[in-house]
């Protein structure tokens, strides 16, 4: 593993919100080398620094906002990964990734990450301008949307080029699926990251950096990143996926997934949405698209900024992406394009995870349809499929936590337990985290990854070993996972050798990824997850066949699911109950987890 002393060390800001203590700490080289950065390193810190069984919303809970070795250096290396204990599940790891410009800006300020701990006695925001780091009063920002907060902070600091991560009213009010937003439409949304900030009294983190990035071998870095840049520029036109992202962004794929019969519709009862021709395909491009936007350095520009040009939401600037629109649009049976994209923006403004929010709304709609929730239970809201006005009324209640909104704000699992009357069977979640945009009956691979994913269902986790290894690497490096699929991973090894001074080869790719994923699995077991019991899908997936679309008649049979899961357990070095084998943990240098695993298996 080379000579650690010669290698670059990380500078991490440790912020104690309770005591207003701000320190710069260095992390052990061994951890950085073995866990790279972002998601991997966050998992290692979470294991080491937090106590078993800690409540994710108490002062002792910590959050790690980490860049990776390539953040701010390479085109598209714009991402950060936020790692924490998930308030949505209460007993698993939570992580959330966001791109745009915030991560590189932190690097240019001279830091590789931030550790947040404690709880501020009053609302604050963290201001970082190069060497100046301070907690500032956020009393006047409390209650404002993520958009307003971003704007107000820039005005207050008299520099429009500050990059601001902020929570909205949802995070302040501890809605379990609150997000953290930046650049208006970008968010680290999943797993309740915004809820953690809300519990700590942290409204925002504003960063401005004006320094050069320190690297181990600067000429080498410049050469290697230049090669990647050339490749990415050529991918704009020469790679089919790259070309599609340049031209259409990712929300165009709604139609493709619908055609395959696996797009969410009516709370995962169907995998086909009959209103797709109104909201899918080129409809957005033709009617609302205005211009493309990119993350830092990326030549693709897959974010499609637009404006609602007609209907009741006309004049609203929007920037839809696949997941949020899938769950809100087809998921809630909304066939009006303007409503779908505006609702997705509304979630960003209020600081809500649009994916979870769409899922919960679909759940409540089905409860209303089946008479489980009465008009009275819903405080008079006629929550019919596709009723946009009713949806907005309901969402306002969720953000304010009033009446039915207070119940739904706890997430679909807890809400269904509170509502009862058989609604538990309509709650589409794993481990307490809401399903995203695919219907497992129509796409078994998606179903498998929903169940085995360590942070709860997401299609980012990957369904095959190779996919999972690629994604965990992307989140740890930290680079865009689209870009990861467009280039040869060897290029990242060249970049790591030059940026960090590591003696690293591509042969380590699978080993490092497996180490990170096994550690996350061990962490979940430590915190109370029983894999065999918790790596499961809701009953509907196994028993209720889809009735429309290409996959009409399909379920994900329980036996097939169990066989798929068992195959995956074996491939990942786990026993038949999903617990990592001791010899496997030893092999991957995870000896420190062995006492926990041994205790669990006894």
């Amino acid at each position: 593993m080379g000579d650690y002393m010669k290698q670059l060390s990380l500078r991490i800001l440790e912020i104690d919100l309770s005591e207003n203590i701000i320190e710069v700490i260095e992390l052990p080289h061994k951890w950085v080398r073995e866990y790279i950065g972002g998601r991997g390193l966050g998992t290692r810190l979470l294991w080491e620094r937090t106590k078993q069984g800690a409540n994710p919303l108490t002062p002792e809970a910590e959050m790690y906002i980490l860049t990776g070795p390539l953040t701010g250096v390479i085109p598209g290396g714009a991402h950060i990964c936020l790692t924490f204990k998930s308030p949505l599940t209460g007993n698993t790891i939570g992580f959330s990734v966001t791109g745009a410009q915030w991560g590189p800006e932190l690097k240019y300020a001279g830091y590789d990450g931030i550790i947040l701990k404690g709880k501020s006695p009053k609302p604050v925001y963290l201001m970082i301008k190069d060497d100046v780091v301070e907690l500032r009063d956020a009393g006047h920002l409390w209650g404002t949307t993520t958009w307003q907060t971003q704007q107000l902070i820039k005005e207050e600091l008299k520099d429009s080029q500050f990059k601001v991560l902020a929570i909205g009213p949802a995070g302040e009010n501890l809605v379990s699926f609150a997000s953290i937003g930046q650049e208006q439409f970008r968010a680290a949304a999943r797993c309740g990251s915004g809820t953690v900030w809300g519990s700590k009294g942290l409204k925002a983190v504003a960063v401005r950096g004006t320094n050069p990035v320190s690297t181990f071998d600067l000429p080498g870095v410049i050469k290697a990143r230049g090669e990647l840049e050339k490749l990415m520029l050529s991918n704009r036109t020469n790679h089919p996926r790259g070309y599609e992202l340049v031209r259409y962004g990712n929300s165009i794929s709604l139609t493709a997934h619908n055609d395959e019969g696996r797009l969410v519709n009516k709370n995962y009862r169907e995998g086909y949405f009959e209103g797709i021709s109104e909201v899918g395909g080129l409809k957005y491009d033709l009617r609302y698209f205005a211009k493309s936007r990119s993350c830092s350095g990326c030549p693709l520009g897959c974010m499609k900024l637009g404006i609602v040009r007609d209907g009741i939401f006309a004049g609203n600037v929007v920037c839809p992406d696949f997941d949020s629109t899938a769950n809100i649009g087809p998921g809630c049976n909304i066939s009006d394009l303007g409503s779908m994209v505006y609702l997705s923006r509304w979630a960003d403004e209020q600081g809500l995870d649009a994916t979870s929010l769409g899922n919960i709304t679909g759940f409540a709609m089905e409860c209303y349809e089946k008479g489980i929730l009465s008009l009275e239970d819903l405080d008079g809201i006629k929550l019919e499929w596709g009723n946009t006005t009713a949806i907005l009324e309901l969402w306002r209640k969720i953000v304010k936590r009033e009446g039915i909104g207070d119940i739904l704000a706890k997430g679909v699992k807890c809400a269904s337990q509170a509502i009862g009357k058989g609604s538990e069977k309509l709650a589409m979640h794993c481990k307490g985290v809401e399903f995203p945009g695919f219907v497992p009956q129509g796409g078994h691979k998606k179903g498998l990854q929903y169940a085995i994913s360590d942070r709860g269902p997401c299609h980012h986790y990957g369904s095959t070993i190779d996919e999972q290894n690629q994604r965990v690497w992307a989140d740890s490096l930290t680079v865009c996972s689209w870009q990861r699929r467009l280039v040869d991973p060897q290029i990242y090894m060249d970049l790591l050798q030059t940026t960090m001074g590591w003696d690293i080869e591509l042969s380590e790719w699978d080993i490092t990824a497996e180490r990170m994923l096994l550690l996350a699995r061990a962490y979940n077991i430590r915190e109370g997850i029983i894999p065999e019991k918790d790596d499961v899908l809701p009953e509907r997936v196994h028993t209720e066949p889809l009735t429309t679309g290409k996959k009409a008649g399909s379920v994900y049979p329980l036996e097939k699911f169990k066989a798929d899961r068992l195959r995956w357990y074996k491939e990942r070095g786990c026993d038949e109950t999903g617990v990592p084998k001791i010899e496997h943990l030893e092999e991957f240098g995870l000896d420190f987890t062995i006492p926990v695993i041994k205790k669990f298996t006894q």
């Binding site: 085109p75 650049e183 320094n211 050069p212 600067l218 410049i222 830092s296 693709l300 900024l305």
Partner: protein, 173 residues
């Protein structure tokens, strides 16, 4: 004579690859803040506006540089403004901002460490920012009739007009 930088604001995605390329070429560092071109984000969207020197033919920055200092000069052969950093008052720690104030596009920025103003020399006729621009918002225009002075305006003004162009309406929310 060299050409001039031409900008299609509607095509800019705000990735700042131009900034990175400029800093690498001029400073040999991964240091976007030290670039001669800057992309700023403004308003709803937000909209991304590249701010760069447009090589005004009357170069008001040169005229504004104090007579006794003459750190700036116009090179008639290439058509670009050159800076002699040693002569610049800012090099001596003074906070002179005359070139910045004279620039109609507020395109003069200061080096984050040295403090001296940064001037674009079009990389001698092969601007690296243009090569790095994926969405082709930046181009290098060699037409001698192309006077890019109309691009050389306050970024907020450009953003206001751009919003009307891309969103197709003045009232946006």
């Amino acid at each position: 004579m060299l050409g001039r930088l031409d900008i299609r604001y509607d095509k800019c995605t705000g990735c700042k690859a131009c900034q990175m390329a400029c800093a690498i070429n001029k400073e040999k560092q991964i240091w976007p803040e030290a670039a001669r071109i800057k992309v700023v984000q403004i308003g709803l969207g937000p909209l991304d506006i590249p701010v760069a020197c447009h090589q005004c033919s009357d170069h008001p920055c040169v005229a504004a540089c104090p007579e006794k200092v003459k750190a700036l000069s116009y090179d008639p052969e290439s058509g670009v403004v050159l800076i002699n950093e040693e002569k610049c008052l800012r090099e001596q720690g003074l906070q002179c901002q005359r070139c910045f104030r004279a620039c109609p596009g507020e395109a003069v920025s200061y080096h984050p460490k040295r403090g001296t103003p940064l001037f674009c020399d079009l990389c001698g006729g092969n601007p690296v920012c243009v090569t790095a621009c994926g969405p082709q918002a930046l181009s290098y225009n060699l037409d001698p009739c192309f006077e890019s002075r109309h691009l050389n305006r306050n970024a907020y003004e450009i953003a206001r007009e751009l919003a009307v162009k891309v969103f197709g309406r003045e009232e946006i929310k």
